[in-house]
């Protein structure tokens, strides 16, 4: 249970965070900026002291280990290469600090440069590299130490959109290849979903859900979590006997759905236009918006607003003002407390 409470601030930046992070996996700490993710990372790295709580690696508390002894290496958001050193010296920094023999450092740095796809750039100055290359050097500088835990703070946020995918794939493949327990921080739910084995969503300093990415889309813990992951449709009602009674009418629920009063949710992209044996409603199309790869529809069922997204092809020919048959597939429904 990690808590960080900065003196003078009304509530803790991070409140009783408890996470059991599986070895060798890639875990994302997800949350909006200022939610305490980076604080958590710095505490794990030993760069900040928690107000209370403990940090345990492989069953042993590392709380009193100095940062350089923890075997947890942090890669900062803005790469922070040492400007006075060459790329190779940057990558070999940690090994030099351990006074390893020069020849072995040189060899391992060369391997590392190949691994991050920067062969032959060792003699360059960091300032001569592009943003994406700098980020890869920062990654290599950490990986060369074979850390017990690799901590990445927003590793993709400083990159252009087209570089982001490359870097994402590189991190994923290196992490698999080296099987290093990795925790990375991001504010981008898509990034977390694509990269991570497991995601911990932190809102207002508190852990809201810790699960596989799929769970966040299919089985969000509450409305705030669903909203963070792009959920738009929330309809209050009551679940009983596998059915949900609401102003939308009565809908069939998946077998594992909870019962009792709750909020029905369905992702906009799960809604289908057309009829099906169950869960088909009649909706009036009141607005549509072309968003490039998607078309967003605003539908009204009774007096309930519903948002659906289709591909532009699927949306072809749907006219505003007409009534449409709309299906909410049973498997895509979920009931929030």
């Amino acid at each position: 249970m990690l808590t960080k409470h900065w003196p003078g601030s009304p509530k803790p930046t991070l409140d009783r965070l408890t996470l059991d992070i599986p070895s060798g996996e890639l875990t994302a700490l997800l949350g909006p900026s200022g939610c305490g993710k980076t604080t958590a990372l710095k505490m794990i790295a030993g760069l900040l002291d928690p107000t209370s709580g403990d940090i345990i690696f492989d069953g042993r508390s590392v709380l009193h280990d100095k940062p350089e002894r923890r075997g947890a290496v942090m890669v900062f958001q803005n790469h922070l290469l040492f400007p006075a050193m060459s790329v190779a010296d940057n990558i070999g920094f940690g090994l030099r600090m351990r006074h390893e023999p020069k020849a072995s450092i040189t060899a391992r740095v060369t391997d590392m440069l190949d691994l991050v796809q920067l062969p032959g750039l060792g003699h360059r100055r960091p300032s001569d590299l592009s943003g994406g290359q700098q980020q890869r050097v920062a990654l290599a500088r950490a990986l060369i130490l074979r850390p017990n835990v690799l901590l990445l703070d927003e590793p993709l946020s400083n990159l252009d959109a087209h570089l982001r995918t490359d870097m994402r794939d590189l991190i994923r493949s290196l992490q698999r290849q080296l099987a290093i327990t990795t925790i990375f921080v991001t504010h981008d739910q898509e990034e977390a979903a694509v990269l991570a084995d497991r995601v911990a969503l932190i809102l207002d300093g508190q852990l809201r859900q810790y699960a596989t990415p799929k769970h966040f889309y299919k089985r969000p813990a509450d409305a705030a979590v669903a909203r963070f992951f792009g959920g738009r449709n929330f309809v209050p009602g009551t679940a009983s006997g596998g059915l949900f009674h609401s102003p939308l009418g009565t809908l069939h629920l998946p077998d594992d759905a909870p019962t009792g009063p709750g909020t029905l949710t369905i992702r906009p992209e799960s809604i289908r236009i057309g009829t099906a044996p169950e869960n088909t409603l009649t909706a009036r199309l009141v607005a549509r918006a072309f968003l490039g790869t998607q078309t967003r529809l605003r539908l009204i069922v009774g007096d309930v607003d519903i948002e659906a997204t289709l591909t532009p092809d699927q949306a072809e020919g749907l006219e505003v003002g007409t009534d449409l048959p709309v299906t909410l597939p049973r498997a895509s429904l979920w009931v929030l407390p």
Partner: protein, 285 residues
């Protein structure tokens, strides 16, 4: 109005003053040091003045003393300033007040500092009195000579007193701009606190430290009033010697004074070159 004309009008007045007074002053000094002054009938430039000072042991002793003063003061000031900046960048209770006190003597003229050092360290000064009160010395002459002394200790103390805040404030600003993240990265990469300072922070602040040090060195090499108050008569610091020669009743000594001024100018020219190299590299890196 074209940009060129506008630029010329903006720059001309200031440049004119600097060229006439500064470059003019240097040029006339150079001419007089060569004994060349057509206006008063001296049309044959010669190196007599330089020959005279470069064969004079007095000049060499002065030069070495002045170099020792400037070099020792600069190195000590820079080292202490780095330490001070490291202490002052931490957060602690009363930091604002302490930082203010640290900068307090920035605006105190060197002359005042020199007199203060004199009253502290002379053989009847405050420290000598303390020594007497503690039974360490019986009379003023027992107190070690820290002013008017051959090693110029008093002069160096004055420069260290005055320049530690000067260099320190520059380093502190430098450190604030750099932030602590580079060192934190180094720590997570396995560097100890000392290694993070030595291999990461120090190389980053070094250009700032050195360029400030260059200014301090040039100043300490050419300042008059501090060695005039705190220094020995023989050998005197070079600026004191130059001033004495210039105001000597024997007018023949004037070209030699000018030659010494040129030596000081040449040395500070080297300092400017060093300064530019250091600041260029910093902005280029």
């Amino acid at each position: 109005m074209s940009d060129r004309l506008r630029l010329a009008l903006l720059l001309a007045p200031a440049l004119l003053v600097i060229i006439v007074l500064f470059l003019g002053g240097l040029a006339v000094g150079l001419m007089r040091s060569l004994g060349y002054m057509p206006v008063i009938g001296l049309t044959e430039p010669n190196l007599d003045a330089y020959a005279a000072i470069f064969t004079s042991p007095q000049f060499y002793r002065s030069f070495l003393l002045t170099f020792h003063i400037a070099f020792t003061s600069t190195v000590l000031s820079a080292l202490i300033a780095i330490g001070a900046a490291l202490l002052l960048r931490r957060t602690f209770v009363g930091k604002r007040a302490i930082t203010f006190l640290f900068q307090l003597n920035l605006t105190v003229p060197h002359l005042v500092g020199a007199i203060g050092i004199l009253y502290l360290f002379s053989q009847s000064g405050s420290f000598a009195r303390l020594g007497h009160a503690w039974g360490l010395i019986a009379q003023p002459a027992d107190f070690p000579a820290l002013v008017f002394d051959p090693y110029a200790i008093g002069i160096i103390l004055q420069y260290v007193w005055k320049e530690v805040p000067f260099i320190g404030v520059i380093i502190l600003a430098n450190m604030q701009a750099i932030g602590q993240d580079h060192e934190l990265v180094a720590r997570t990469l396995g560097a100890t606190r000392y290694q993070a300072f030595r291999h990461v922070l120090l190389p980053m602040i070094l250009p700032g430290v050195l360029s400030a040090s260059v200014m301090v060195f040039a100043f300490a090499f050419g300042a008059y009033e501090i060695p005039a108050i705190l220094g020995q008569n023989h050998p005197a610091a070079l600026p004191v010697l130059a001033y004495r020669s210039y105001t000597d009743v024997d007018l023949a000594a004037r070209p030699q004074a000018m030659a010494m001024a040129m030596v000081i100018a040449a040395l500070s020219g080297a300092m400017i070159w060093a300064y530019l190299r250091l600041t260029r590299r910093r902005s280029g890196g």
